[in-house]
């Protein structure tokens, strides 16, 4: 019985600490240049990025460089790359008011609550104060902004999401690149007939399939639809949502995604494409190292190309408007903000873009990318296409909807595509969930 009670008490235990959460000192969100001397100490960054990825490697180097002139300074990286585990950690620490100097979060409604509580430094003012506001791509900052246009998160990455495809498999099936989203079902059916998986889908990750829900509404209505939907001011049964549901149902019946996709993870899905077993793979430029260098299997290397989000008849967004995320953002904690944190940020953010671009990745600033030595010609094509992304951002819905609606949407999408529910049932379930949760979350 002891253990029974232990589990049941899990939530209570995690939250018990909130009772002893201390009061706040520290700066106001807009007080970006606090007075006082710079006193070196250890500061921490709670983050959700790959432990040996370029962001951490570059920032580690910069922290060491800063420590050389500021003895006693160090930057501790506490990384949890698995996003759901990370979010749990973030929320528990936020509830206990124990967040460190820097912490990662997307521009979610939850993060907006934290900002409204005065727990995050105003990033717009901060960038202006340290003289870097003009160096960032407007779209990279736009991705980090909340609904009201306010900016509390700093981007460290930038990328565009493309539809990578295998030209040889397309030729074998006798299909062309889809010109409109509505061409997908026919393209999938033809590809499936040749025995390949038309679209490699990492269903276990959930966000990749949720992107597909966003495409039709983005083309039909622009970003406005999800902006209204999240607050309960629009419905899934509205034309944009209903079109998306019907389309996803068709993608399912046309056999677009591999059987059992809902339990397939990120790497397995990518392997399907890179091994030539799948014809299309919808992924961002952060995978350029795997898709456009000599690391890619020689058997498919010359067959890989990409196209951008197809349009629809009567589209409200331009062809070059699509998903171009600047990754999870970093917030600066007001409670621990002091002259040292500001000084380090100024130092690191000034030098970061150059060093990050040297790794071959796109930066959130307008810095030129250094192509890696083993890049294929596709690499530079992908980079130059990303430079021409339009002004309207297709925001991923998982950063927009309230968490309960979002979870339910991710679950129902799988059922819709698998044919376990009809588009009408999907819409009805989602509208009920939305009505129950959205208004109270955004009140």
């Amino acid at each position: 019985m002891k253990k029974v009670s232990l589990l049941a008490a899990a939530v209570g235990t995690a939250l018990a600490m909130t009772a002893c959460a201390g009061g706040s000192t520290g700066a106001a969100p807009g007080d970006v240049n606090p007075t006082g001397a710079i006193k070196a100490r250890e500061i921490s960054w709670l983050l959700s990025r790959p432990a040996n990825g370029s962001v951490i490697t570059v920032m580690k180097g910069l922290a060491d460089e800063y420590a050389a002139t500021h003895p006693g300074f160090s930057l501790k990286f506490i990384t949890t790359p698995d996003r759901p585990s990370y979010i749990q950690k973030l929320e528990t620490l936020a509830a206990a008011k124990k967040l460190p100097e820097f912490f990662d979060t997307d521009a979610t409604p939850y993060a907006q609550k934290l900002a409204k509580q005065g727990q995050m430094v105003d990033a717009e003012k901060l960038l202006k104060d340290i003289g870097l506001d003009q160096s960032y791509r407007p779209s990279a900052l736009a991705y980090q902004r909340f609904d009201d246009g306010s900016l509390y998160l700093l981007p460290f990455e930038y990328g565009a999401e493309y539809f990578w495809y295998n030209k040889a498999l397309f030729a074998k099936a006798g299909v062309e690149v889809p010109k409109t989203l509505d061409d997908f079902p026919a393209v999938c059916a033809a590809l499936a007939k040749t025995g390949v998986t038309p679209i490699a889908m990492a269903g276990k990750e959930q966000w990749p399939l949720e992107r597909w829900m966003a495409y039709q509404p983005f083309r039909l209505e622009g970003p406005a639809y999800v902006g209204k939907l999240k607050k309960g001011e629009a419905k899934f049964s509205d034309p944009a949502g209903a079109t998306a549901a019907k389309w996803l149902g068709e993608l399912g019946t046309s056999g677009c995604f591999q059987k059992g996709f809902s339990s397939v993870g990120y790497t397995d899905a990518q392997n399907l494409f890179t091994s030539g077993k799948a014809a299309i793979y919808n992924m961002g430029t952060w995978e350029l190292g795997s898709l456009a260098t000599d690391k890619l299997d020689a058997g498919v290397r010359n067959d890989v190309d990409f196209f951008t989000l197809p349009t629809v008849a009567g589209a409200k967004t331009a062809d070059n408007d699509y998903v171009a995320p600047s990754g999870i953002g970093m917030a600066v904690n007001t409670r621990t903000y002091d002259p040292l944190v500001r000084d380090f940020l100024k130092f690191a953010l000034t030098k970061y873009p150059q060093q990050y671009a040297a790794s071959g990745a796109l930066t959130p600033t307008t810095t030129d990318v250094t192509l890696p030595a083993n890049a294929t010609p596709l690499y530079s094509k992908a980079i130059s296409t990303a430079e021409k992304v339009g002004d309207e951002l297709a925001m991923p819905w998982d950063t927009q909807l309230d968490p309960t609606t979002n979870t339910r949407l991710q679950q129902e999408l799988v059922l819709l595509v698998q044919g376990d529910v009809t588009p009408a049932e999907f819409i009805s379930t989602m509208d009920t969930t939305l009505a129950q949760n959205a208004p109270k979350y955004f009140k």
Binding site: V4, S5, E91, A95, Q117, G260, E412, Q418
Partner: protein, 293 residues
Amino acid sequence: MLPYRSRLSVVGFLLPPLLLFGGAVLLPIVQSVYLSLFSWDGITDREFVGLENYRHMVGGDPTFWTSFTNQLGYLAVCLVLQLGGALLVASLLLTITRGREVVKVLYLLPAVISTVAIGLLFQRIYSYDPVGLLNGVLDDLGLGSLSRPWLSDVHTVLAAVSAPEGWRFVGLYTIIVYAALLAVPRELEEAARLDGANAWQVFTKIRFPYIRPVWVTTTIMATTFALRGFDIPYLLTNGGPGQASELVTTYMYKTAFTSTNYGYASAMSVFIVLECLVAVGLISLLLNRKAVR
């Protein structure tokens, strides 16, 4: 036994574990009950809502009842595999004379493997593309028509996430039941056999009544473990597809840490405590009453 035991020494030895139990188990339960009366997202002010969370749980949340039904299915699979399997294996162990220790160790092995490793293992076993062990064996046996993505099919996923948990602890319960069976006096069994009792009668009239107290304990252990089952379903499917493998525990976790609805999640945790207490009560009542009879 000591001739004299001071009251102070009894208190001295009992107090630390009691304090630990109170602080680590009872206190959080009381806190959960308290939190369940509020609506709270962890960052803004708590709002007292009385019994609203319980009302929503009972009357306004179909997902909760889906997950409760799933939890019962999960419980059934776990109990059949763990207790049925344990009894079967322990009985067979009694009949073999060589290699008994090796078999016991092999059966116990899964209980000591980390849950994450088991999750990854079964992810591969159930895999459809690339073909995993289960679908591969079905193909080899000419039963290819039965092969399917076990974790994506809403009809098979609940059994698929329950089986690893059942399999995992068969060895543990086998050892417990085996130890109990060893204690059954051989002369009683021999006397019964001389009187013409068959193997089934020996089992039902002598062996099982003899091991009943141990059986009650193992049933309570297995039931409460299964009612708290969380990790393997969470790792394998995260409750999906849809809510086909959502358990009360995974739903509670998501409600707390994804939806940041701590009040409602606490109400669910209180429900789990209550359902475990009811289960323990029922098992004790049923099995002990039979024993008295």
